[in-house]
């Protein structure tokens, strides 16, 4: 129990620090870095979650983009208030994920990955080609700012990045709560078994396909909501913002951080964000550096950055039980 309280302490401190960041750092550059980090964490958690059921999704930016486009279309064309457009921006990508998943999730992991790559290209093409709905490569600009009142006071989204900071932070915290709760519960164990022992799990009465669909739809729902924050924040939505390359970055972030826990996804995403900031000077060699990192992680840290402590603990844990089993079998019958 004591260790559990310890564990809750750290996230609380981090959350407190994050809440205080805008108080001390007004610079739009830093605030926008945090904004994008929060949104990327939401995307990464979804990719991590789907990874636990054995599927790798390189098309997370597509669902992110579908959420952004939904908000853009609803705000600009239909003049819908933001608070109504926001949940719809989660539901539409989720529904599309459900339909896509109905076909794609029945395939083996590698084929699913290829299909997500294809989906990236397909949706990207539709955004450009279907000019009537999506306004082509020009996209939507400007996007009206959300009009939200808290305690009767209007929140000034148009004047500063601070409201966006808190909006993104709140959404990220809610997403974290969702994923931590699910993955610490029995559902998390069931999903891990979907990824690794499908046939055995099916024989306990669990519909493996249904679990994959639930996981996929949830991850794309949150991706869509993140897109709903992104659209007015950037004031512009266009096809070039949502690419396969970004999808690969997200996947790499989850891999590097560790695919065994939601914390891994967060750690990996932060790592990739910090790396991205450093690499902006070396944009030509980005692919090379990413490749080197990927090979390094796969060779030396297959459990990811956050998996390293876990592996050490497992090694210690594995040593002790063996010792007990020897004692039991020599001493008494089981």
């Amino acid at each position: 129990m004591k260790s559990q309280k310890w564990q809750l302490f750290i996230p609380f401190i981090i959350l407190l620090l994050l809440i205080l960041v805008p108080v001390f750092w007004h610079s739009p550059r830093y605030l926008s870095l945090f904004n994008l980090l929060f949104l990327n964490i939401i995307l990464a958690l979804g990719v991590f979650s789907l990874w636990s059921v054995g599927m790798i999704n390189a098309a997370q930016p597509v669902f992110f983009g579908l959420g952004a486009y939904t908000v853009a279309i609803l705000l600009v064309r239909v003049h819908m208030p933001y608070w109504l457009a926001f949940p719809i921006a989660g539901i539409i990508p989720a529904a599309i994920a459900g339909a896509f998943g109905f076909v794609a999730l029945k395939m083996k992991g590698a084929y699913f990955l290829f299909l997500t790559i294809a989906l990236c290209e397909l949706i990207g093409w539709i955004w450009v080609a279907w000019k009537g709905l999506f306004r082509g490569s020009v996209g939507f600009y400007p996007i009206p700012q959300p009009e939200i009142k808290i305690f009767g006071l209007k929140v000034l989204f148009s004047q500063s990045l601070v409201p966006y900071y808190y909006l993104a932070l709140i959404l990220a915290v809610i997403t974290c709560l969702f994923y931590f709760k699910i993955h610490q519960s029995r559902i998390g164990r069931v999903w891990e078994s979907v990824g690794k022992h499908e046939d055995l799990l099916a024989n306990t009465g669990v519909s493996v396909f249904a679990q994959k669909e639930i996981c996929f739809v949830a991850s794309c729902f949150f991706a869509g909501l993140a897109g709903a924050v992104y659209a007015p924040y950037m004031t512009i939505v266009s096809p070039t913002q949502f690419t396969l390359w970004q999808g690969i970055w997200i996947v790499l972030g989850v891999l590097v951080g560790g695919i065994f826990s939601p914390i891994g996804a967060i750690v990996g995403t932060v790592f990739m964000a910090v790396l991205g900031v450093f690499l902006t000077r070396f944009s030509n060699t980005q692919p090379l550096i990413l490749g080197v990192i990927l090979v390094f992680v796969l060779l030396f840290m297959p459990s990811g950055l956050f998996g390293v402590p876990g592996r050490v603990i497992n090694k210690i844990r594995d040593m002790a039980p063996n010792h007990n089993i020897e004692k039991e079998e020599s001493g008494k019958r089981f």
Binding site: K181, I187, R189, H197, A202, T204, G205, P321, I325
Partner: protein, 254 residues
């Protein structure tokens, strides 16, 4: 009414007739052995019954209902459960989690109920499932390993666990795929006595694919012998062990 009836079950692959016109019946509480040389089609038959493969032709009738082509998890929910020879347990989960996962469907608590549970509700839910899981583990004296990673357990324990996992699903028909392969005689006794307990207390019908002839002859009331995908003999252990065709299949002809 037999718990399981197979009628003219056939599975053809390109260039290979894996199973041809197989007829088989198992009654409640009966232990039936399915034996035959390697490659005879025993595992294919299990795959056909449990929904892992769909038959080319023929019918599978479970509890009087035609379930041909039904998916594995649907059959498991109806009470038709299969164990595997090699993938016995969820390797990376703890022993306790293995059983809790196996109990997941029967617990009736799906995604939404777990997501929206308050901490108090969650504690109650978890306590209930944990209690049921521990009770099941205690049947095989595995409770002491509850928090160990299942993968580090020796194969004898893992095989026992696979029976417990199947038991958690409340089976009315159990397909055991080589349950005692790789076990020493002590472990075999313990596992088979667990299997018999399941049969005695639940009335579960059992089909056992096994190569260990002593176990088959001692435990099975009825034996079906197949070779090259076809039934070549059926009867009691005495009848089958003296059947010329069976001896030929295993030892070759004079």
């Amino acid at each position: 009414m037999p718990i399981l009836k197979i009628e003219k079950l056939t599975k053809k692959f390109v260039g290979l007739n894996a199973v041809t016109d197989l007829d088989l019946e198992v009654n409640q509480g009966q232990i039936l052995g399915l034996i035959g040389p390697n490659g005879a089609g025993k595992t294919t038959t299990f795959n056909l019954i449990s929904g892992a493969l769909s038959p080319t032709s023929g019918r599978v009738i479970f509890k009087g209902k035609d379930v041909t082509g039904f998916k594995t998890h649907v059959l498991a929910r109806m009470g038709l459960v299969r164990t595997f020879q090699l993938a016995t347990v969820f390797q990376d989960l703890t022993v306790l989690d293995n059983i809790q996962v196996a109990l997941h469907y029967r617990s009736g608590e799906g995604f939404w109920r777990i997501l929206l549970a308050t901490p108090a509700m969650a504690r109650k839910q978890n306590a209930r499932v944990r209690e049921n899981a521990m009770k099941l583990l205690d049947l095989a004296n595995l409770g002491q390993f509850a928090h160990h990673r299942a993968g580090i357990l020796p194969s004898g324990h893992q095989k026992l666990m696979s029976i417990i996992i199947a038991l958690a699903v409340e089976p009315e028909l159990l397909l055991l795929d080589e349950p005692v392969s790789g076990l020493n005689s002590e472990e075999i006794d313990i596992l088979m006595s667990l299997v018999k307990t399941v049969r005695n207390e639940r009335g579960t019908g059992i089909i056992m694919v096994e190569h260990n002839m002593k176990v088959v002859m001692d435990t099975c009331e009825q034996i079906v012998v197949i070779n090259f995908g076809q039934k070549i003999a059926e009867g009691t252990p005495e009848q089958v062990s003296s059947d010329k065709k069976v001896i030929e299949a295993y030892l070759g002809s004079e």
